[in-house]
């Protein structure tokens, strides 16, 4: 095995559904990623989710099978709902790298994204302020597309905001909606995202699953809204434009979220060349109370981008395109029963 060898994600290591794996990208976190080529000869970015694993009838008793199946169906439902909403036509204009396929192959779930030729948003450090502002506007415009659909990205971090160089300047591309959920409806046992960029309410909500027992507290899931993303927006923009994470003062804890939750503050350094109103608003997105944070529309407004009311567009009934293996698409009122699900799980396909 050599460094850079293909990271295999299935038995033969070469083909999943209609995709031929061409290159390892990364491992770790909650998924394993590869670059692959589709049957129509396009490069794609494919992720295998490390959890959940679809249950096997042969090894689980009825209770265990039913509980695991229920968890998988909830997982499918969340991803289907997000993909349905993302499939709606663009409302404002933005640069979302939307997932194009979501499917299950035997026991594992996969999601496929277009492959984007781009660079890290950390490359924005030291750029011309006008270019930095264009990057910030396109990042926020992309996020507005999500929030207009009531979608919380839930994993905003520099690695998930790419930069594409265009004649007009550097444009942000927002990627990775694997942790996304509907505003106020986080999944049970959500353990994704990056703690470095959590909002205080997200950190507290997740402490019950990832923290020490003494810190396990309960948070009303309804508090995890699009405002949670705004906290991360402040941290991300500061880091990729100022070149270092925002500093903190007071409070207790390690992350920005913990410190703010314990009475401290995030000290946002004004970003050079940006309007004062924008810098004031950026300071305000990193406060404790989600209700006190500016919305993405308000933040864009400080950059001179007019906030338009969302234009509602019809929801496609079954907009998720699925290939190969087990289709995961809109059920629209029909709950799959256990037998139906088992029929779809033919091992050894």
């Amino acid at each position: 095995m050599n460094k850079g060898a293909v990271i295999n994600v299935n038995r033969d290591g070469r083909v999943i559904a209609n995709f031929v794996i061409t290159e390892a990208i990364s491992g770790g976190g909650k998924s394993q990623a590869v670059k692959a080529r589709s049957s129509d000869d396009r490069d794609v970015f494919m992720k295998r989710f490390l959890s959940p694993i679809y249950p096997r009838e042969s090894t689980d008793d009825d209770r265990r099978f039913a509980k695991r199946l229920e968890g998988c169906l909830r997982f499918e439902e969340r991803h289907r709902e997000i993909m349905d909403r993302l499939a709606k036509p663009i409302v404002y204009g933005g640069n979302l790298v939307k997932p194009i396929h979501f499917f299950r192959e035997k026991f594992n779930y996969y999601k496929v994204y277009p492959f984007v030729d781009s660079e890290s948003s950390r490359a924005m450090v030291g750029e011309d302020p006008q270019d930095q502002e264009l990057f910030a506007k396109t990042f926020l415009a992309s996020l507005r597309e999500l929030h207009a659909r009531d979608i919380v990205h839930a994993d905003l971090k520099p690695d998930n905001v790419l930069v594409q160089r265009r004649p007009a300047g550097p444009v942000a591309k927002l990627i990775d909606f694997d942790e996304a959920f509907l505003s106020g409806q986080p999944p049970q046992r959500l353990v994704g995202g990056d703690p470095v960029y959590y909002s205080p309410e997200m950190a507290t909500y997740l402490a019950q699953y990832t923290g020490a027992e003494s810190r396990a507290t309960s948070v009303d899931p309804g508090q995890l809204t699009t405002s949670s993303d705004m906290f991360a927006v402040g941290l991300v923009l500061h880091e990729v434009i100022a070149g270092h994470p925002a500093e903190v003062s007071g409070g207790a804890g390690e992350s920005h979220a913990e410190i703010v939750a314990h009475g401290g503050t995030v000290e946002m350094k004004p970003l050079a060349g940006f309007p004062r109103e924008f810098n004031n608003a950026l300071q305000q997105v990193v406060v404790l109370d989600p209700a006190d944070r500016p919305t993405v529309d308000e933040l864009l407004g400080t950059l001179g981008v007019r906030a338009e009311p969302a234009r509602r567009t019809p929801t496609p009934r079954e907009s998720v395109s699925i290939i190969g293996s087990v289709e995961i698409k809109s059920s629209m009122g029909t709950r799959r029963n256990r037998n139906a699900a088992r029929t779809r799980t033919e091992p050894g396909r």
Binding site: M1, N2, K3, A5, V6, I7, N8, V9, N10, R11, D12, G13, S26, G27, G28, G29, K30, Q32, L50, S51, P52, I53, R56, T59, R64, K67, R68, G71, K106, F107, N108, R189, V191, D194, P195, V196, A207, Y209, T210, G211, A212, E213, R215, H244, P245, E247, V248, S249, E254, S255, H256, I259, E267
Partner: protein
């Protein structure tokens, strides 16, 4: 007074290392990097503004129970690094590659022992990582008993029982769902491809059967560990 933040983790890592003959190059690489392990991991995590609050490392060296019997599996306690670095280095320096006979080896028994490790369960933001490094297939469970000095530990009789021990979102088994990661560096032979499909939070990186592992692989192992925290 303002200051920088750093999110730190309590990281437990159990290395299940195949110590049969063909793994000699990898073992030498492990020995060379043992003294630097804490620093190397911290450097990789620092790139993402993360740090290590506590690092404990345990080694389970395995060969083939069918060939080496009592000496086929050697397990250490957790070493706290860097505090117990000297003891850790001393143990690692004594690892030698040899034996094992023909494939398969006793990697699944080693994995079962790893799962039963005394994991840190009180500190905030903890990660429990099992790393299996081998270039061989594994004996199916149920074929051999554990060496007598390890017989106080449970040995599952098949892969399903091992999977239940590893646990999932519904039944945690012996591992904590949010904390656990399983990184397998193994060839495309039984059971590694199956295991990566059926065990939650498992990443399989393919190694070449019978070709050992190298310095570059050791760096890849570190990358994968850092990515899993």
């Amino acid at each position: 007074m303002s200051q920088q933040t750093k999110t730190t983790y309590a990281v437990d890592i159990v290395f299940c290392i195949d110590c049969t003959g063909s793994m000699q190059p990898y073992l030498e690489s492990v020995k060379r990097s043992a003294t630097e392990f804490h620093r190397l991991l911290e450097e990789k995590m620092a790139v993402k503004n993360k740090g290590i609050r506590q690092l404990r490392v345990r080694i389970i060296a395995f060969r083939d129970i069918g060939e080496e019997g009592e000496e086929s599996i050697v397990a250490t306690n957790f070493f706290s690094l860097p505090e117990e670095g000297t003891s850790f280095n001393t143990f690692v320096s004594k690892l030698t590659a040899g034996g094992g006979g023909d494939e398969p080896e006793s990697a699944l028994e080693a994995l079962a022992l790893a799962i039963q490790s005394p994991w840190e369960r009180t500190m905030d933001k903890r990660r429990h990582i099992v790393v299996v490094c081998t270039d061989a297939s594994a004996h199916p469970l149920g074929k051999f008993r554990l060496p007598a000095r390890l017989s106080n530990l449970d040995l599952p009789s098949n892969m399903d029982d091992l999977n239940a021990m590893w646990g999932d979102e519904v039944d945690e088994g012996l591992m904590e769902f949010a904390a656990k990661r399983l990184l397998v560096f193994g060839p495309d032979k039984y059971p590694w491809s199956d295991l990566s499909e059926l065990f939650e939070n498992c990443i399989w990186v393919k190694s070449e059967a019978g070709q050992g592992m190298t310095d570059a692989d050791q760096d890849l192992v570190l990358d994968q560990i850092a990515g899993s925290v």
